[in-house]
């Protein structure tokens, strides 16, 4: 039967041997003559597959099975591009399917390559990209060998291009010989092409592959799944996170139209996995919240019955926190003590006798992702088997949550990945899927679709971490910082990226540095929110540096330029491009301002790493204090870009996301519960609020990495807007959201 040459472990070892700097570079791969020796099949293809990633149908359709969900960033399409580049098929032939994680469980290594392989991103990860290209190259050579065998010629004389195999006048489509190719093992793995020979990566800018289905309404998101006999559930969990259902009265609603059952969601009844789990992010943040679900024929019936259902709650400890003001006051008290744990110490901050001291405290609130597709999932429990359909952001996490909640053996669990109606980090933990399984387990035999209302989605979030930070800098007589001291206080998920590696503390220009962290644990659930914590740290760092520049009487651009020193030139280049394009330094009418900020995700402290982004915002503030963001100019350096248009789209979207976070978003806690439920209470920017957005590619260094791009832009936009507002009004904004500040002037 079929023999697949690529043995994952051996392949990685082998490519490590000749790649040398593979972690950074692709081109050395291509430069190597020969290649990897053939290995016995570890993960054979099944049926007509060339391998578990690639199926070529007789009609010449090329199906690439991807391990990453598509959340809108184009990760699935990019993965297919990697394969197609080497496969030499026509792009029009290519389709993507989501892989089956159960197969990964049965045959480890089938799909797991590189960092977080089943996450909706990282498609240009430095391990996965060459791996997927190698898959394409290997398949191409096997197709050539199959054609050569038919024609009785040497495989080296066969050319593969545009999905066609050629020798002299002879032609065969890939699909015509795919079945034969599937049975061929290569004696040698082919070397990858040199980047100079690429026709797709870095050259073409194809749209995401699922768009034709999106625009006709046929794309299937989790919430769209349709199954025979399916019933629907609406749910309500404890309004105060950590609270419990005390009592509910099923009898009051059982006679309502369509109602079939009322079930309790009880965290104490999660069964637990029968085997050691291998979830991506651990299972702690996926735990159930106590609640009730009503199951009915149709969702509308379930929702009406749920609204009518009398439920009593025991709020427990969370109810102690009466208001945001109470919480914020406590946070400030912690910061004022300056007793956080040091995570960076350089020189001696106490030895400095500054000419001037600048001090400030900042805050960013809890925020919800409000992805457009409300949380949901569908599960069928029958005969010791569990099947789920879910818009997850990480298939591996989803799979293990399903196993853990059901208690079934992994081989009896199947997770079907659907399209995802917005992720932004909310769909990474699998807490939503756990609820679905918990409900379906109590109504076995038919598929149960559980839908969170918008209000339930908003109030049962895993929010952006609430964060406060205090800064203190000692400036010398020229106004430049000699010492920098900072403490960040986290309520919830703690990530230090953007803080501990902020460029001013890590590039050596400031000699005395002390960075510390403290914690203020609360009952409210938090998690990844697009560029977690970085989206707050960059606000605090880049606003504070702006405050230092203002105190020194130095232009905000010049000040940063100086502080970047001789660090990785691309930072200065980003700064320069964004500033120039935005017209930095030109006189502005009263009430207008320009602000600048710069950052890098996820590797500010390293040279030639991550994506550096600089934003310049042009704002206009009316005398009455109404803010209008007129223009955002963004420059960036991710090394290279694999799909220019896809990168631009991510930067555009990141800018809009950051603007909303900065201007609008804040959740309110009242008696421990989240107040906001729907979009009228939690405003989101619309078309009319859009600035002119200019994405500038001029700062790309051409360095060999293809760094990730979705998170980076969320950092600098907020502080750039805040700094611009300061220029326009003289008012310094030290907390988000800006809409809650009085910005009137004149």
């Amino acid at each position: 039967m079929s023999d697949v040459v690529l043995n994952r472990r051996r392949f990685l070892v082998s490519s490590g041997l000749f790649a040398g700097g593979m972690a950074l570079s692709l081109s050395p791969l291509a430069a190597v003559p020969g290649g990897v020796a053939a290995q016995p099949a570890k993960v054979p293809g099944e049926g007509d597959e060339l391998d578990p990633w690639i199926v070529i149908r007789p009609d010449n359709r090329v199906i690439v099975r991807v391990p990453c969900p598509e959340i809108g960033n184009g990760a699935a399409t990019q993965t297919a591009m990697n394969v197609a580049e080497e496969l030499q098929c026509a792009w029009e032939q290519v389709e993507v399917e989501f892989c089956d994680f159960t197969r990964e469980w049965r045959q480890p290594g089938t799909y797991a390559v590189g960092l977080q392989p089943f996450f909706g991103g990282h498609s240009t990860d430095h391990e996965r990209m060459p791996y997927t290209m190698q898959l394409g190259a290997s398949a191409r050579e096997r197709l050539k060998a199959a054609a050569a065998a038919r024609w009785q010629v040497a495989a080296s004389e066969v050319e593969a291009r545009g999905g066609e195999l050629r020798h002299g006048d002879k032609r065969l489509s890939f699909g015509e010989v795919a079945a034969e190719a599937a049975a061929i093992a290569l004696a040698q793995e082919p070397a990858l092409k040199s980047p100079g020979d690429w026709w797709l990566i870095g050259k073409a800018t194809p749209h995401k592959l699922h768009l034709p289905q999106v625009v006709t309404g046929s794309a299937v998101y989790g919430i769209d799944v349709k199954l025979p006999g399916m019933v629907h559930a609406a749910l309500k969990q404890s309004p105060v996170h950590g609270g419990r259902v005390k009592h509910f009265d099923s009898a009051a609603v059982m006679d309502m139209p369509g109602v079939r059952a009322v079930v309790e969601i009880d965290p104490r009844k999660s069964v637990g996995s029968p085997v050691e789990t291998q979830s991506t992010f651990g299972l702690e943040d996926s735990q159930l919240r106590s609640g009730v679900a009503v199951i009915a024929d149709h969702y509308w019936q379930a929702k009406n019955a749920l609204d009518a259902l009398p439920i009593e709650w025991d709020d427990r400890l969370g109810a102690f926190w009466k208001s945001n003001e109470q919480i914020y006051a406590k946070q400030e008290e912690i910061l004022q003590r300056w007793q956080g744990k040091a995570i960076t110490r350089k020189g001696d901050i106490y030895s400095v006798e500054p000419a001037q001291t600048v001090e400030a405290t900042y805050r960013t609130p809890y925020c919800e992702h409000v992805a457009m597709e409300p949380l949901n999932g569908t599960a069928l429990v029958s005969d010791g088997r569990l099947e789920v359909w879910h818009s997850s952001q990480d298939m591996q996490q989803a799979f293990w949550v399903a196993v853990d909640e059901s208690g079934f053996m992994p081989e009896n669990v199947r997770v079907h990945q659907t399209q995802v109606g917005g992720g932004f980090g909310r769909r990474t933990m699998g807490d939503d899927l756990r609820v679905v399984v918990a409900v379906a387990r109590q109504y076995p035999g038919v598929p149960v679709k559980v839908i969170w209302s918008r209000e339930e989605t908003t109030r049962q979030g895993l929010y952006r971490t609430l964060l406060g930070a205090s800064y203190r800098a000692g400036l010398d007589r020229k106004g430049m910082p000699e010492s920098l001291e900072a403490e960040t206080c986290f309520s919830g998920l703690q990530l230090n990226l953007g803080f501990v590696d902020n460029i001013y503390a890590s590039n050596g220009e400031i000699e005395n540095v002390r960075l510390a962290v403290s914690k203020f644990p609360l009952h409210i659930g938090t998690g990844a929110y697009r560029a977690p914590c970085y989206n707050s740290h960059v606000f605090t760092v880049e606003t504070f540096i702006d405050e230092c520049a203002a105190a020194a009487g130095i232009d905000a651009y010049d000040y940063r330029h100086k502080l970047l020193g001789s660090w990785d030139k691309s930072w200065r280049k980003c700064l320069q491009v964004a500033a120039e394009k935005a017209g930095w330094g030109e006189p502005l009418p009263r009430g207008q301002g320009l602000g600048i900020a710069i950052s890098n995700w996820p590797a500010a402290g390293e040279k030639n790493a991550g994506t550096t982004v600089c934003a310049v915002a042009r704002v206009e503030v009316s005398p009455a204090g109404e803010v209008r963001v007129r223009q955002i100019d963004m420059s960036f350096d991710s090394g290279r870009v694999a799909n220019r248009d896809a990168v631009s789209a991510q930067l555009e979207g990141g800018i809009v996301f950051a603007m909303n976070m900065t201007l609008n978003e804040e959740l309110t806690i009242r008696d421990g519960a989240i107040v906001e439920g729907n979009y009228h209470e939690y405003p989101v920017l619309r078309m009319a609020d859009m600035p002119q957005i200019n994405i500038h590619f001029d700062a790309l260094s051409g360095h060999e990495r293809f760094a990730i791009i979705g998170e980076a832009p969320v950092g600098p936009v907020g502080p750039a807007i805040g700094n611009a507002i300061f220029q326009a009004t003289g008012k310094r904004l030290r907390s988000m959201p800006f809409r809650k500040h009085d910005l009137s002037w004149g």
Binding site: V214, F424, A649, Y679, I693
Partner: protein, 162 residues
């Protein structure tokens, strides 16, 4: 429960349904037409936009009985084979990100162009009040202006110099 007759995308349907059920859920749950999306349920986001007698409406906030006797068009019927000019441009200009809001966006945009075939940028802004959390507004705007005959639209709005 009541029998409701609907004409959807030119085809007749008959439903046994609580007449107060929102049109959105009648479409999605009772007829299995899931192209029309649920985003908020309170006429805030526009994900559920359909055309009733040629006018854009937020179907989450219209009871199904209100649609009786009217011509209803959903995203599935915006064009016969997915080739409405807006659908083509949406794909060509890589407008959607996650795509969840886009059925509603397309229905709103088609309605706008029907009423005003050559809208200005400001008119597009005023008419397009749906929410896109992925932030695709600049591209949506550009695609509508392109459809309205402005060939420069893509350069100016979709990704700067990309």
């Amino acid at each position: 429960m009541k029998t409701i007759s609907l004409t959807i995308n030119g085809k007749a349907h008959s439903l046994e349904i609580d007449p107060a059920t929102p049109l959105l859920w009648a479409l999605r749950d009772h007829l299995g037409m899931t192209g029309t999306k649920f985003g908020c349920g309170i006429a805030q986001c526009g994900a559920c936009t359909v055309h009733l007698d040629g006018v854009a409406m937020r179907s989450c906030s219209v009871p199904v009985e209100y649609a009786e006797g009217k011509q209803l068009t959903t995203i599935e019927g915006l064009s016969e084979s997915g080739d409405h000019r807006l659908q083509q441009l949406w794909v060509e200009m890589n407008v959607p990100q996650c795509g969840y809001c886009q059925a509603g966006m397309l229905m709103a945009a088609a309605d706008l162009l029907q009423r005003n075939p050559t809208p200005s940028g400001e008119e597009v802004d005023a008419a397009m009040t749906n929410i896109c959390r992925c932030g695709t507004y600049p591209r949506i705007r550009a695609a509508i202006l392109r459809a309205a005959g402005d060939p420069q639209a893509v350069v100016r709005y979709a990704g700067g110099e990309a």
